[in-house]
């Protein structure tokens, strides 16, 4: 399979702290890759580097062999990489539907003047944005449908906010989704649902997915491949079973025997 997203020897330091250190990572077309690691391992920083929030100190980030380094975040999203946030960042005071419609900005192009004049082209585009938003929201079954469209996003439950963030990311037209702890703060039933949803995003939506997750049930359920990070370095890579039994991963999570018994 072709490498869709590829990171080559990426590094990032904040002051003296090396957060990501010469990391190689690739995600193939249609693959679901999970990134695991203890807190502070550099997982979210990795997402921030890919999406252009931070600029890497060194290395190369390629999307279909096109370099993303140095591009502003909105352009990276337009090229096809969209993300969700670990700490939810919805547009709280906009309606559920508007949240999704807003994310279609990058794939539409009616300017202000055309909007003022309501040209036929602009109106057609608005209709398309509307349909797109409804289609993306319909992906979540009944969860984000009907009367919820016109409710402000702040009125949604926590789990629904996570779903809305995913809907918003898909509306950008991206092919690669970076999901930052999609199951955080969810109860077991909702966690189960989100696991199925991520699988459905690939099969029905055709998305390629890179996901950060702490819940090992989710990781086990969805991943084609698991990458474990610690202190910005890749310590293991492979299937879930390979990574879960890797001594270095166990050590990173639980400490070495000597320190654990001290």
């Amino acid at each position: 399979m072709a490498k869709l997203l590829e990171l080559k020897r990426i590094s990032k330091a904040f002051g003296g702290l090396q957060v990501i250190d010469g990391l190689d990572l690739h995600v193939d077309e249609g693959e679901i890759v999970s990134v695991i690691g203890p807190n502070g391992a550099g997982k979210t920083t990795l997402f921030n580097l890919i999406t252009g929030v931070y600029r890497p100190d060194g290395g190369e980030i390629l999307l279909e062999n096109r370099s993303l380094v140095g591009l502003p975040p909105h352009q990276i999203t337009r090229l096809g990489v969209a993300r969700t946030f670990q700490t939810l960042r919805l547009f709280l005071n906009m309606t559920v539907k508007e949240n999704v419609m807003a994310a279609a900005y990058g794939r539409t192009n009616a300017g202000v003047l055309r909007s003022i004049l309501r040209t036929p082209g602009q109106r057609r585009e608005e209709r398309e944005i509307n349909e797109l938003a409804e289609e993306k929201l319909a992906f979540f079954g009944q969860r984000l449908m009907g009367y919820r469209w016109d409710q402000p996003a702040y009125s949604l439950s926590y789990a629904n906010r996570r779903r809305l963030e995913i809907a918003r990311a898909t509306a950008t037209g991206a092919r690669v989704l970076l999901l930052d702890e999609p199951a955080a703060g969810m109860n077991p039933k909702e966690t189960h649902e989100i696991t199925e949803l991520i699988a459905k995003l690939r099969t029905d939506g055709g998305y390629t997915i890179l996901v950060i997750e702490h819940d090992m049930h989710v990781v086990e359920g969805i991943s084609d491949r698991v990458v474990a990070l610690d202190h910005g370095v890749k310590i293991a890579e492979g299937t879930f079973d390979e990574v879960a039994t890797s001594p270095r991963v166990v050590e990173a999570y639980l400490g070495t025997k000597a320190t654990a018994t001290k």
Binding site: T77, S115, I116, G173
Partner: protein
């Protein structure tokens, strides 16, 4: 590692299950406050097509000139319309894009001076309006871009300070550019300094010369209606959604494919353009421009309008402009000022003292308290009731027998004023029935201070009154009259 979801006991039947956590909370937050006829009215209003909304303003305002014969009120009408226009423009930057632009009034001044430069005897240019207005608006948009450039990376308070600085810079230039030294030309009078430019041409549009106040009123009304519809359309487009997105969370907006910096500049420039347009009409209708028209007072008044009406709502900011401008105008004349004063007290107090029973108790208590104080004063301090209030309205005659008015009001005025301020501050510290009880003497004192001093010079007191009104409104409805309640963090 077993799958926990498999082990969960079977839930009760879906229909029998209480719906806790599904919709109740949503209903309470979003629906609860909007229930009843208010909610129904709002729902009905939201279904009205966008383009027809300004009709609610345009129809009554369009009839306004038929009901007033006086030039004074026509002037007030034009003034109000210009402020409504400005409020629409300010709403773009502040209400939608969330950029706290404290230099906004400078764009208004730039538009006004721009018109005065191109159509007056000052430079001997007498261009027609159909050329001047597009040129000036375009120049103001450009200025908005330029001011926006260094402001792109600033948010909140920092942006506010930079833009306020820009306003001061603009005023300084207006005041001092009457003796610019230009190489090879010597001293040039660019702005005529504090004297302003007072021979501005009347507006000429395609050969039609606007020479009456009615003409300017209708031009301003037409501009308002056009800008209103245009902005309503923009708000409902991808650009409008992007502006509101970046107000909510600019990083998330950027990561959701919106070019935040460009959108901020656009919002700045857009608001500036509207102000520039308002400025040209102002300049032509007044026939003169002075730096004092564009000072911080005008800025604060404009902000008061937009806050009162509710940031983010086009109809709201327009209503806010009407309310504040009319109130300020009515307060200028002593005959009407007292009506406004007591009317405002009666209208705003139910918001501050709740429930209604307490408010009634305070109202009755204050009236009784007044008569008691007055009776006591007649017994022990006769000088306290010797004078009569300088107020001219009928209501002043009515309350004259109720408030204390000494023969020489100055003494009471000074002490009373300070005590009043202390009393109002004290009110904010008290709670429950103590607070309710404390309202009685404070209100009586306020009435006394009003009747003794303020009523004689309402033009000064009016800003205090408007401020008090805003404080009372903010306490009860922080989103303004028409605004939507915003949630910052949940």
């Amino acid at each position: 590692m077993t799958d926990e979801t498999q082990d969960l006991p079977e839930g009760p039947d879906a229909a029998a299950r209480p719906r806790v956590g599904v919709d109740e909370w949503v209903e309470r937050v979003a629906g609860g406050s909007e229930a009843g006829w208010q909610g129904a009215l709002r729902a009905r209003l939201e279904r009205v097509p966008l383009w027809s909304k300004p009709i609610a303003f345009v129809l009554p305002l369009g009839l306004f000139p038929f009901f007033t014969g006086s030039d004074y009120w026509m002037q007030v009408g034009i003034d109000t319309l210009l402020f409504m226009l400005l409020a629409l423009g300010l709403n773009v930057a502040v209400g939608w894009a969330g950029l706290l632009d404290l230099g906004y009034i400078a764009f208004y001044g730039f538009g006004a001076y721009g018109f005065a430069f191109l159509a007056s005897g000052h430079f001997g240019l007498h261009w027609d309006g159909q050329w001047v207005i597009p040129i000036v608006v375009a120049a103001t948009v450009l200025l908005g871009f330029l001011v926006g450039l260094p402001s792109r990376r600033l948010v909140g308070d920092y942006l506010a300070i930079v833009t306020l600085f820009f306003l001061q810079l603009f005023l300084t230039i207006l005041l001092n550019a009457d003796r610019l030294s230009i190489p090879f030309k010597g001293q040039v009078d660019f702005t005529r300094g504090p004297n302003g430019i007072s021979d501005v041409d009347q507006l000429t549009l395609f050969g039609w010369r606007l020479d009456s106040l009615d003409d300017y009123f209708y031009i301003a009304l037409a501009a308002f209606a056009l800008v209103f519809v245009g902005l309503a359309f923009v708000n409902d487009s991808r650009t409008g959604r992007a502006w509101r997105s970046l107000r909510e969370d600019s990083l998330a907006a950027e990561l959701m494919s919106m070019p935040v910096n460009r959108l901020k500049l656009l919002a700045f420039a857009f608001g500036a353009g509207v102000a520039g347009l308002a400025g040209t009409i102002f300049s032509a209708s007044q026939g003169s421009v002075f730096p004092a028209n564009f000072d911080v007072t005008a800025l604060i008044t404009l902000y008061a309008m937009v806050i009162l009406g509710g940031f983010g709502s086009l109809s709201g900011v327009a209503v806010g402009a009407i309310v504040i401008n009319l109130a300020l105008e009515l307060l200028r004349t002593p005959e009407k000022a007292s009506w406004i004063f007591f009317g405002l007290l009666l209208l705003t107090l139910p918001f501050v003292i709740r429930p209604l029973g307490r408010w009634l108790a305070v109202a009755v208590g204050t009236v009784v308290f007044g008569f008691v104080v007055r009776a006591l004063s007649e017994q022990f301090w006769e000088r306290g009731v010797e004078g009569t209030t300088p107020g001219l309205a009928r209501i002043d005659r009515i309350v004259d027998g109720w408030v204390l008015v000494p023969a020489d009001p100055d003494g009471l005025a000074k002490v009373g004023y300070l005590t009043l301020v202390a009393g109002v501050l004290g009110l904010t510290l008290l709670k429950g029935w103590w607070r309710t009880a404390a309202f009685v003497p404070v209100l009586y004192l306020a009435a006394c201070v009003w009747e003794n001093v303020m009523v004689g010079q309402p033009a000064v007191a009016r800003y205090i009154l408007i401020g008090a009104m805003l404080v009372a409104l903010m306490a009860s409805r922080p989103q303004g009259l028409f605004g939507t309640a915003r949630v910052e963090i949940v």
